[in-house]
Structure formats: C-alpha cells, structure tokens
C-alpha cells in the first residue's frame, strides 16, 4: 500500500535559554494509506505534540513530515491553511463544535470553507450523517446533544471533506464508556469500510484496542510498536496493557 504519512527524525523543543523541554526527540515512522494508527503515552510523553506537528497547528524544531509526498514543514502560512482544509480532518477531545450552529451547519461549515457549491454540500452532509447514524439529530444544536452524539457530529465534520488523514486527539476523553464504544465502532467502520486513514492519540487502553497498530511514546521517543494482525480485540487489549506495564511509573492511571 502507498505510504500516506512519513515522519522523519521529528524533533520539537520548547522554551530556550537554559530551560529547554524536549517534547519530541527524534521520532520517525510511516503510516500507509487506510491504516488506523494509535499513538499512546502518558501525559507529557509528547504524543499530542506529534499530532499537533502533523496537523500543522504547531511547527517543528527539526525533521520532516511528508504527507502524500509533500513536505509540510516547508510550507508557508497560506499553503498550510489550504493544506489543512483539503487534506486533514480533525476530531478533538472536547468536540469543538460551534455552539451557535446546528449539527448540519457544523458539518456543512467544513465544506463551505472548501468553497464547495451548495448542492454538493447538502448531499455530502446527508451522506456522512447517514454513515455515522446522526441523520435524526442534524437540526439540533450542540447543547441539545449527548457527548457521544456531539463527537459523532465532530467525526462527520472531520470526514466530510474526504481528507487524506483524520487526526483524532483523545476522542473518547470526554465520553462515558457506552458513548465511547459507539464512537469507536463508528471510527472502525470509517476505517474498514470507507478506507479512511486515521491517526488517533490516546492514553486509554480500551480506546487504543480499536486501532490496527499502536506506537508507544515515552519521553519524546518511540518506545515500542505493536500490531493487531488478526488478534481479537480482547487479546490486543491484553497486549496493550502488557506494554503499558513495561512502560511503568507514570501510567498508574491505567493500572
């Protein structure tokens, strides 16, 4: 399969003059098209920083990130926003839906920014709403929805523009276990049936068990990498727990 994302010796330092924080210290990996990749690690391990660099929200200190062969670390501000709206889809921990807009409009906004014609927007919104089973809440406002519904609307918004990569940052972080399972099931469907490439950052083993491959990050470097490869989700979950135990110390929140 084609490589859709290639991260090369990514380094990101914060601060300067005596107090340098090495958030990411030389990370390299590749993601082929259609894969569901998880990035795990404790708070402060650097996983969100990696995601922010890939999503062009943050800049790198050194190293390169190629998406579909293009080096995004060399892009200018205008190219970046164009790149973001055409190639990337985002799902955030706290949903980040606009509270003044209905579900329909939240999804449509992502397409309107792409300057798609109105007819295309309308049909596409209805299409993704069907895929994520949110058709009946399209006219509701975020404050009228449950957390799980909000996150599915956010997921619909992320995939509406058919991006090359969907980036999810702790998507189940603010959900109860039932909503979380439903969301993850939807993401699984997106990946397996619609062939969406997904990169998800999480510190929760249950959430991570839906991925095909998991990169473990500790103190800014890749500590381990495991693949599901035909295991049942339960076995994969056990394996993840095993790696986390090895990671030790800081992961007391899962143990």
């Amino acid at each position: 399969m084609d490589t859709i994302l290639k991260v090369e010796k990514l380094i990101k330092y914060y601060g300067g003059k005596g107090s340098v924080t090495k958030a990411v210290n030389g990370v390299s990996f590749e993601v082929p098209a259609g894969e569901f990749t998880g990035i795990m690690g404790a708070s402060g391990s650097g996983k969100t920083t990696i995601l922010n660099c890939i999503s062009t929200i943050d800049t790198v200190t050194s190293g390169h990130i190629f998406i579909e062969g293009t080096d995004i670390t060399r892009m200018k501000a205008n190219e970046l926003s164009k790149f973001r709206r055409t190639k990337l889809g985002f799902i955030f921990q706290d949903f980040n839906l606009l509270d003044t807009l209905t579900a329909y409009e939240n999804i449509a906004l992502a397409l309107a920014i792409l300057k798609k014609p109105a007819a295309v927007i309308d049909s596409r919104v209805k299409e993704v709403a069907g895929e994520l089973a949110i058709t009946d809440i399209l006219q509701k406002y975020p404050y009228q929805m449950s957390g799980g519904q909000k996150q599915r609307v956010a997921a619909a918004r992320a995939i509406a523009s058919k991006p090359s990569i969907v980036l999810a940052d702790e998507p189940t972080g603010a959900l109860d276990s039932k909503s979380a399972a439903a969301l993850l099931q939807s993401m699984d469907t997106l990946n397996s049936e619609l062939k969406a490439t997904i990169i998800m950052v999480t510190h929760d083993a249950f959430t991570a068990s839906y991925c095909r491959r998991i990169l473990f990050i500790k103190d800014g470097v890749i500590f381990d990498e495991i693949k599901r490869e035909g295991q049942s989700r339960k076995d994969f979950f056990e394996q993840i727990i095993g790696v986390q135990t090895m990671l030790g110390g800081a992961n007391s929140d899962v143990l």
Binding site: S55, I57, A77, N78, S81, K82, F83, R84, R85, T86, L88, F90, N96, L98, D99, T100, L101, E105, A108, L109, A110, L111, A112, I113, L114, K115, P117, A118, A119, I121, D122, Y141, Y143, R157
Partner: protein, 659 residues
Amino acid sequence: MFYKLAFKNVRKSFRDYTVYFLTLMFAVCIFYLFNSLGAQSAMINLSKSQARSIQSLSRLIGYISVFVAVILGFLAVYANNFLMKRRKKELGVYMVLGMKKRSISNIIITETFSIGIVSLAAGLAAGVFASQGLSAVTASLFKANLKPFRFVFSSDALLKTVVYFGIIFLVIMFFNTVSVSRLKIINLLGASRQNEKFRVSRTGFAAAAFIISVACLATAYTFIIQSNFDFTDKRFLGSIILGSIGTLLFFMSLSGFALKIAQSHKKFYLKNLNMFVIRQINSKVNTNFVSMSVICIMLLITIGTLSTGIGVSNALSSNLESSAPYDISLQKDATQGGGDIVGGIQKGKNGIMNFAGDYAQNSRYDTDITYGQLIPGFTQYGDSFLNSTVPAMSVSDYNSTAALLGRQKISLGENEFTLVCNIDSIIPSFEDFCKSGGTVSFAGKKLTAYAGTSESSMKLSLSNSGSSTNAGVLVVPDSLLKGLKPVYVVLNINYGHGVTDEEFTSMLSSAYPDDAEKPYDISYSKEEVRDDAATSTVFSSYVALYIGLVFLIAGAAVLALQQLSEAADNTVRYGLLRKLGADGKMVNRALLAQIAVYFLLPLALAAVHSAVGIYAVNKIITLAGHLNVLTNTLATAGIFVAVYGAYFAATYFGAKNMI
C-alpha cells in the same frame, strides 16, 4: 501587596480596558468642555446681551449636565459590569487561594480608583485644550471677535466634573463591592465553561413579531407626520409609544426572521463563512435585543438633535437680510387705540425723530377674509392656518415701505388689490391666485387682482423679525380703509447719518423710562435680531451637540463592549475556524462582517426613524425658513463617522488582536 496586584492587573489588562478607558476619557472631556462655556466667553468680545445669553446658556447646560451625568453613570456601571464578568475566573483563583472577600474588594476598588483618576486626568487635559478651540467657534457663531489669545481654565467646570465623576466612580465601587460579596467559587471557576443560554424562537412567532413591528413602525411614522410634531397632539404620544414598541419587536424578531430567509437561500448561506457569521450575529442580537433597541433610540436622538439642532438655527439666521431689513422697527398693538407711533413720539418733543433718517409707518386692519378663501390648495400648515383671517393694509403704506427699501412703488386701481408676503413657500400660491384672476370682496366691493402682481412685488417685509413671519397681507386702495381703526401699527426707521444703534436705542429708553408712556409696545432693531439669531444658533447647536455626543458615545461604547466582552468565546470559535483550514483572510473578513453588521443594525433603523422625524420637523421649520438639509446631514454624518467609526475601528482591531 494587594495594591501591587491591582496596579499590575490594570497595566496587564490595558488592552481590554482600552474602550472603557477611552469612553470615560471622552465623557469627561465633553463634560468639562460644555460646562466651561461660561468661562470661555472671557476670550471673546461680546456685547452685553450676548454675555447675558452665554450666562443663561451655561445655566441651561448645567441643568442638562445632571441628566448627562445620569446617562454616563449608567454607561459606566454597565461597562464596568462587562469587565467584571470577564474576570470571574481570575477572582475565583484568588478565592481558591484563600484571599478574603474584603481583600478582593480592595483590589477591585483600587483598580476602579486608579482607572478613574487616570481617565479623569486625561479627559480633563483633553477638555481644557479643546475648550480653547471651542471659544473660537463660539466667537464665530456670535460673529464676534476673539480677544488676544490667553489660556482659559475654568475651575468651576473642573470642580463640577470631578464631583460628578467622583460620584459615578463611587457608585461603580459600590456595585463592585456588592458583586464581589455575592461571588461563589464554583460559579467563578466554571464561568468560562458555562454554556450560553439559547433562545430558540419559533419561526412562526418571529415572523408574526416582525410583521407586527413593521406595522407599528409604519403607524408611528404616519402619526408623527400627521401630528406636525405638536407635543399636545395625541398622535405624537402615540407615535412615540408605537415607535418604541415597534423598535423593540423589530430587534427581537429580526435575527430569527433574517436567519430563516438566509437559510432558505442555500447558495448564499452555505458560501464561505456566511453561515458562521449569520449565526454569530443571530445569537448576539437574540441575547441583546433590548440593549440594541435602546441604542437605536439613543442614536435616533443623536441624529435628531444634531441635524435639526444645528439646522433650526441655520434656517432662522440664513434670511436675516430679508426678514430684518430696517435699522429698527417699533411695533404697537393698536386695538386699544394709539394707532400713530410717529405722532406719539413727535408729541413728546424729545427730538428723537431728528435722528431717524428715513422712516415709514404701516397699519394693518382686520378683515373677514380667510386664507382658505384665497389659497384653499395650500395645506402645508394645516386647517388652523387656512381658517385664520387675512389682515389688510393701504396701498400708500405699501408704497412708503417699499420706498424705504428702495423698491418700486405700485399704483392700484380703485377696484384692485394685491398681496404682500415674505414666506417663500406661500408666495407661489398667492401668485397663482392673482394670475388666475382671483377676486376678493372687501367693504362691500368686489376687487380684482392688480395686474402687476409678481413675486418681486409681493415679497416685502413689513417689520423686522428674526424669521419670515408675514404669511400674507391684503393691499387695498386707501379709500376702502377710511374710517376703519387699525389693529396693528409698525414704524420702520433707518437711522440718520452717523447715528449708531446704541445711541438710538438708548435715546428711546431714556425718553421713555416708563413702559406705560411709550407710544409703541416693542422695538426690534437689526442688531437685536442678529444677536437673537446668533444666540439661538449657539443655544440650539451647543445643546444639540452636547446631548447628541453623549448619546452617541454611550451607544457606540455599549456596542463595542458587547462585542469585545465575548472575546473569550470568539477566541475558541475563530481558533476552530483556523484549525478547520479557513485562512487568515477568510477569518478576518468574517470578523469584520460580524462587527460591521452589529454596528450598522441599530444605526440603520435609527437612520430610517430620523429621516421620517426630520421630514416631519422640516415641514414645520419651512414656516420660518429653509432648513438646509444637505449641510446638516453632512455635518451629522461627519460627526457620526468620526465617533462611531472610531469605536467601530477600536472594536475590530481589539477583537482581531484577541482571536
């Protein structure tokens, strides 16, 4: 320690405070400027009567200032509440750290106090400098000369400003202390996460309310035009009430209604960030429709006072040359006898008439002819005008008055009449009446119109007056008036060579120390007319400017604060747009559109209101002269662009910095 914290807070949040600070400063500046008018007159060579009118103007400004201070007080409290809301989280952190409420109060009081001192000082400084310029404006309005420049400073105005604003700041401190004592930690820390309350109004309701509001406004407009701006007319009150209700309903329903219309035009709604901008405005207008209505009415008052206030005086003073052509006019109500002013003065043997150069007396007699019989088609001034009777005068009085002005005499046949009038808007109707062979019956005789009647023969002022007030006098042959008693007599005098107005009027007043002995009731010299016109210009312009400016900054400041206060929410929203890939240009354009629409909405409705209002007022003012609508509109627009535009720009750039 706490004081250090307070000062650091003020310095740190200076950007948030900019609009608040500028508004206070501006308010202080205006307050000082207008209250120092009395002291400023020290720089101008004023006549005694002018000096007196400046004194009464400062008294009037003093009364208005109390009202203005109340408005500014409300504004300051409102603005301060907004700032307090933004800082809930910060205050919550203080409380979590264990700070006593008393100490928190002290911090807030210190902050309010220091902002108050700085804005007061800056505003006073600006006011003192601006007042030097204002005296030049006053001088030119009075057509008086400036004395050699010296720096004028009014300690009275200073004291008054400090006291009034001191009270305002005390009130703010009181409110802040109360609100701090009611704080609860849980509300404070969660303040930023609290959801905005949404009022989802049903479309049917919004549409109905919108239609009712339009109907209310239409009725109010009709009423105000019909009532001729007569405060005693019931329709005037009705129009005010209906207008207010209509305005409120308009803003209540507008956003819901407009949203539905926009949503049904998918091509527009789903283009770029349109839907985001419309939703932003919709939610803002929905929550703030009451204050938007109030702002709209305040802007209406501003436009109204500025355009007509400056305007009335223009109308009155523009045609002084034709409405007060004589050096002096002596006028007498002759219904109780004494129909000869010249004879009365000469009888006193005081030699006053020797100082008069040329003079001419004219007498007016009652008739039972009404204006309605002559010009029934002239409805501009309503029925009361058409039902009033036309006075008559003799052709020889007409000729002597015309001679005094160096105008052509006329010779009237035994069965002829003509008319005099100096109100431009009526003359064409009289002309039509005469040209179409109009007749009148007077003293049992049928008179036909004098063939030489023309606009130039008719337009004649029979006495000095501040504005054109002669709505029409019938000129008839002398023989027809024989034996009748005049009801009103005027003696117009042009002074003899080298005689000044002051000399002549002082002669008159020393010759007749007792009013009862005067052979005339009132005298009105050209100088007095000019002074009066200048005084009314100064009065109406300054009062209009004062009230107009205060309402303008109050309205603009509230709009600005409402936009800036939700910067925290907007930071998240616009940040999200960026993450979704909207580029900088797109985001900035959306922000600009949001703020521009928010600023323009109340202004647009206020402009429509005032256009109707000015139309109604204009109808009345044309009685006295022409209101120069263009100049006043331009002047008003200039002031609006400067003040409103400044607030708009400050809001846009402030908001842009925050997102």
